[in-house]
Chain length 514, copies 2
Amino acid sequence: MNGAESLVRTLVGAGVEMCFTNPGTSEMHFVAALDRVDGMRPVLFLFEGGATGAADGYARMTDKPASTLLHLGPGLANGLANLHNARRARSPIVNIVGEHATYHRAFDAPLTSDIEALAWTVSGWVRTSGSAAAVAADAAEAVAAARTAPGVVSTLILPANTAWTEGKGPAPALALPDRTTVTDEALREAAAALRSGEPAVLFLGDHALRERGLRLANRIAGATGARLIAQVSNARMARGQGRVPIERLPYPVDQALATLAGTRHLVIVGTTPPVAFFAYPGKPSALQPDDCVVQILARPEDDQLDALERLAELLGAPVEAPSHLGGRRPAVPTAGPLDADSVGLALGALLPEDAIVCDESITTGRNFFAATRDAPPHDWLQLSGGSIGLGIPMATGAALACPGRKVVNLQADGSAAYTAQALWTQAREKLDVVTLIWSNRAYAILRHELAGVGANPGRKAIDMLTLDDPPIDWVSLARGFGVEAFRVETLPAFVEGLREGFARSGPLLIEVAL
Amino acid sequence: MNGAESLVRTLVGAGVEMCFTNPGTSEMHFVAALDRVDGMRPVLFLFEGGATGAADGYARMTDKPASTLLHLGPGLANGLANLHNARRARSPIVNIVGEHATYHRAFDAPLTSDIEALAWTVSGWVRTSGSAAAVAADAAEAVAAARTAPGVVSTLILPANTAWTEGKGPAPALALPDRTTVTDEALREAAAALRSGEPAVLFLGDHALRERGLRLANRIAGATGARLIAQVSNARMARGQGRVPIERLPYPVDQALATLAGTRHLVIVGTTPPVAFFAYPGKPSALQPDDCVVQILARPEDDQLDALERLAELLGAPVEAPSHLGGRRPAVPTAGPLDADSVGLALGALLPEDAIVCDESITTGRNFFAATRDAPPHDWLQLSGGSIGLGIPMATGAALACPGRKVVNLQADGSAAYTAQALWTQAREKLDVVTLIWSNRAYAILRHELAGVGANPGRKAIDMLTLDDPPIDWVSLARGFGVEAFRVETLPAFVEGLREGFARSGPLLIEVAL
């Protein structure tokens, strides 16, 4: 059994069931091994950013890693932007990156580059296998590193000769360490802050935003009067009827500052203190007030649910806290313009039960979150690292993770243009994804930012933020990649399109003129 | 004048006239400055790999750098694969990468990453500006570094506060060092090798493959009997009637070994010794015979033309050497199947004078080079670093560099899917590019490679190399990006399409069914 086969068998044995790939010559032994091993499903992408973004979406919905298979440094480079997002989402992923044979590197062949340097920018674990005999054990470590809380990107670099040379056979899966639990002292400090009678916020991320975390947080809020606020961008939130609604910290700095104004205690679970996405002249980077006391109760790697549960007990919080779990979803809008408001209402009215919403709406979607609060239960996945071009790949991975659930990709048009190739994989795998493209034909967010620069922007600057010359025809692009598509320009047509998309199965793209 | 404006003015003063961009928030002050400064043309791309590949094409055709404007680490990451190709082509490029304000980095905001680590993997010069006052001088250094022979990728990282703070005004362009000249001793050694009477090869790259370099090499070959061979993949070659024809070392290892078999002396100008693109079990990495003496006469950074001229003089080579400068171009093929052979003949018959051929044909195009030998004078640009997805962007940059010349992009379909977004820029800028997509709906090169692995490939492996489910509709994709397109399935239709594409102006894509 060569090194490549021992690698695939080790991955499968450690619970890695998917391989999202765009392979090249140096990965051919791995590809050939896929045929000899059951239990690993290869999924082909036309571009590596699709594969890595899909691995992120898959990890968010399964809490376990997919593998990716990438072609040397440039293949990894093409996947880096979405690995950056995955790192920020703390998604476990196991990258397998092909490399030249160990003895070939010294010849500096054209595709040679510093793969480890690239990998470290997004990975918590990186290793280049030194021999075929070492590959299986390296792979077992890579999976264990990826799965150790809070979840990281692992990158195993596989020189071609370690793939083709006889290896030692598969290695057993490694035991995973338990999450660390927070100390009683930290719990007492948090309880004291929340009971102080001064304005307090429980600031949540990661698993605290899953259904059980939110219920526990809601008990604490009910017992103490603390506000619940989620960080700006979240890997996955449990939402909809029966779930505890929670506001998110707004993206614009002034709104974020206003949201946290007056807060004297910030108790953090599953994330880090709130910071501005970008710096602006004369505005702070840290978003809590200067006189606010910040306490990190549970880091992302800690057992956040245990911390919340023990805190609720310590506070004597009643098990059933007051909440707004039974709001009514909005009615289907029937009249008026097709705009962000009416689109939000239509989504709130029609979103199917158990949907997975992948939200890369950027400016268009700032009200969609509130408008869908009382839709049936669903999960909401956001652009975690700010690197646009995640939506279509993430939706692809979420659909691969959860057959039978409808995936709804709320997608800004400028961002969609980065990685639209993943539509082809949706068609190839017949995935149940409805992509809604907000076609405003601009980098709308940058128009706000440019206005904030203060100068009166001139023609050249405005041109750089405008996508209407020529307009991108999303229906034509989607069909080019094998996905059915149509364009809607009125609210009734949008509502009818949504109904159709949610009723049928298989991929569909709707270009929404805004 | 803020740091951003001092940067733009410094770039313009140093001869940088183009900015290929996909900007974000942190680059808004640079974008705003473009309106206040004449002489810098901004060109927008939907994806950073388009911008960097265009900068490579532009540099190959002008021998000077364009700037790129990229958004933090992920923006640079998206451009890295084509910067890798640019590095291998020794193309001068000045990347400007926006970064968080210096004081904001410590907060680890979502878009924070190690930009310098990414940049060093492709750059010969990297600096993060420390203050607005330093930006202009840093930019002058960045341009000088890029333009110093043999040409490198420079990356200047621009923290947002160094852009928006008052700076010192533009910095003057720096003087560039002369290319180093080779020693008389090196010339005598090369002359002795070539005169030895033993089989000798003059192995050429870089500027030795421009028109004058080839004429000089041809004089040397005529005087000594040495064979002229170009490296496998070249940044730019002068070709066609009146130019000295030269064979390239074949890509397949066995063919390359056969080509160099028996060679006792390898004299190298403008490149490095020949190596296999990939390693294979039981095959060598170095491609010259074991008993061959290798001499690097002129490195890429040396004055290659001076070395060739002095060598020709030393050898007493007549100024007019025998050659095949007057071959007849093939007749237009009129009958038979549409395949790689007939396509090559049609290209040879119809390629317009002064065309710029961007060749990312991969397997399909292996005979196109020979078939176009006697076409009118043209330049031939190849995939230099092996990272696929260069063709469409490189053609875009070549067209921006050379208005009035027809750019012909010979484009494999699998590779085209990486960076097809650059078609939108071709439409936006009304560039004179004909893109010929070889639609074989497979990663054909990998089928050869997989066969070489030895195993009988099974269904899963073959699936990973096959792009026909669903087929990519290139006509639909091109129209989606605003480029006119049609598909041809017969030889007469291909010939008619070529005639039309070469006669009209503006971008056109022809999907060629192979």
